[in-house]
Symmetry: C3
């Protein structure tokens, strides 16, 4: 391992940004950069995960993330087994443990799991002999999304992201993407801001090491990057947001609001987008402004890097 | 490429029969014949698509076609990623473009797509860097079905299909299979007839280069081949067809109606069949009459040929 | 074949326990033991099924069994094609034959099939040129489950299971697992008992070569193994069982009832469990009592053994 990338990465799982040291993160981002090279991705010499089994277990639908892991695993030579479980059949924690026992007996080397309960991947990690990757758990974390966002930023701003001012905008309360990104960007020395209506900012955000704003004009001031979040459709009526139209008026990112940010500021969105709700199409589709396509490209690459690093770390202790 | 099959096939996509020249078609059919050999199909030396990613994106259900492409891709060594999308989540053209951008960022070499909107594959081909194969779009085209039908006919009638009289019968209006077959069979020099009730024959059929008939007796006269189409169940009541029973009486193919065709005429059907509606079981299951099983066999083979040719053409320009 | 495992295994299919001779069973169990070794399972040298196509056709949902076969096939190097068919689209026997014809034309080497109609795999075996494995058909048989149970018992009790007293408890009437296990355990010389309420014991059980009991206390007396069956939720109200609570009181396995069995008796369950209905969690989760996790481990291994043996047998006649 030391020979491959100079730092002894020893993590067995990828559950939360908070578990990683700064050198761990640098290792993962360097490996991700390596795999951005398509010729490397598609090399017919796939030995990294040859003979290994990756189970891609999704308790929530997410074609994009599940397929990203599937492609990453296959390009490294793994056997990828997709399992999509209807939420209804696995409601009780008890049953999650039975699922864990069943999975463990099939002996996957890596389990990628998305679950609507915060902490489900960590629980599975305790019960399984293989590595567990958190592909999103409830409103808790989505660490591989944060890592792919950081990898995307590196492609634009270089290896050192320190000092960048980044606004994360929209529904922070329900967003695991925001929670993982705040931690990672803080670790990398960015100045992170949260922007959104009071109903969508968590009450403990003052302890996150961020500045909080309730309007786009002051929130975006001087920002190098504006990271928009998806507004869940089920929150658009009633308690949280008066209407789509009003939400877009105050918090949707269009060219007018983008002028509040630094000249040349970049726009990100984890997808899938609600066009005309949290972001306008002319911003989302402008290749000079938007990094959205690069985020997806980075998604396959960073996941190849994560799978690679976890597999090496586990082989080292075996 | 020239060394492999003698003609410089340069098509990047397979979207419509109309895009192909006669030599293109001959190249695809020759490759399809090559892959009819099972020992060739299952050779452990799979280098043609090794390290390449085939995404099998179906917006409409079709186990048969999707699995045929999956098997074809795997037998050539590709990583095959299946994506089945519930029609509801992708209603707007806007979202189709987002899907395209997401897919493109995952960098598939080949995208096989079925969509209920005519022209969706062509739109995706403009946006993607890889090759696109149309696996059926709305009421527009289904070119790989027409190619597999032609390959099936070659196995019975030899390489030259010129002069064969072929009746395509049933619901022509809603059939992409009919549209693709008319074009291809015309190109190959066949004499093509359409047979069906006036409600199910498109009003512009007189410009398709075919003869139109509204009764089976005169329509089938002298035909070498009778190609039946599937009647969609949702059209069986009301506007288009009075009842299943009446439809079968006038247009369902049974032994009695088959006597109107040439002695020894062959029967085809793209499947899945509605037995007792457009075709009777004793005709469908008679190995002396029916080519239906050979059509499925030809499906895997022609798709291997198409994937092979597209991949080579793309490598040539890379 | 003789060179590999000393006995000329000549079975083309795996449809029912009753088709196998005692030496056939010994061959399968020996191969299963071989594949319990994870290093063997994950050897990068996968030649046994290289270039072969395994179609995993499930007309009933069963993530556990389908994924077990998928992992087994992939670890042997096969192309595994999953097909899950909504029960509704394949109601008529007629259509099952069309499905068979379609599948056959795609030329799978092995078809693994689960179907809610007893006899469906046997019918498919007549129509297909490849090998068919019954992964559960109606209330008829589930032979690979019985084989994995026997493999699990071997790991505890050694190669000779003769003389073991084994109680199969619960809903015998609707259980294909019970039917396959009774046959196999009888063949291996075990003393088999059925325990359950009269409403859930089939009326012809007296001809199965077993003893029948209607209470757990006398039924479990002297038993080395207690094999619990899943109670289908739809049978818990009304005709068969008064209530979950009452069922558990009389027939659910807890520590108290387990004392009726031999000291050190082992507990089995084919999964997924209804905890608190047919089995209590403290019994199911006690590693000194429960073999449930080993059963899943044995599932992948025995299926690798079965696929291996069928493939060799077919190659011998080719």
């Amino acid at each position: 391992m030391a020979s491959s990338y100079g730092y002894p990465f020893k993590q067995q799982h990828c559950l939360s940004i908070s578990q990683f040291s700064r050198p761990d993160i640098e290792t993962l981002l360097s490996l991700g950069e390596h795999y951005l090279d398509l010729d490397v991705q598609k090399s017919p010499d796939r030995t990294i995960l040859a003979g290994k089994t990756l189970v891609n277990l999704f308790f929530e639908n997410s074609t994009r993330t599940q397929k990203s892991f599937e492609i990453a695993g296959r390009r490294l030579g793994a056997d990828v087994i997709n399992m999509s479980v209807a939420g209804s059949s696995v409601k009780k924690g008890e049953t999650l443990l039975d699922t864990a026992a069943t999975l463990n007996a099939m002996n996957p080397d890596i389990l990628v799991v998305r679950h609507n309960a915060s902490g489900a991947p960590a629980l599975l990690a305790q019960k399984l002999s293989g590595s567990v990757v958190n592909a999103g758990d409830g409103m808790h974390e989505h660490p591989t999304q944060a890592l792919l966002d950081a990898l995307t930023l590196r492609r634009v701003f270089g290896e050192d992201l320190g000092g960048l001012r980044i606004a994360i905008c929209g529904d922070i309360t329900h967003s695991r993407v925001a929670r993982s990104n705040v931690q990672l960007l803080n670790m990398l020395g960015c100045e992170v801001r949260l922007v959104g209506p009071p109903t969508l900012i968590p009450s403990d955000a003052d302890r996150w090491g961020v500045d909080v704003f309730h309007d786009m004009e002051t929130g975006l001031e001087g920002c190098d990057v504006v990271m928009m979040l998806r507004l869940q459709l089920e929150r658009m009526s009633g308690a949280f947001v008066p209407s789509k139209r009003e939400y877009f008026h105050f918090y949707g990112l269009d060219r007018a609001k983008l002028t509040y940010a630094k000249d040349g500021a970049k726009v990100m969105h984890p997808g899938p987008m609600n066009r005309g709700v949290e972001i306008s199409s002319d911003v989302a589709d402008d290749p000079h402004l938007s990094l959205i396509t690069q985020q997806v490209e980075s998604g396959v690459a960073i996941r190849m890097g994560i799978l690679h690093a976890l597999s090496d770390a586990r082989d080292d202790i075996a």
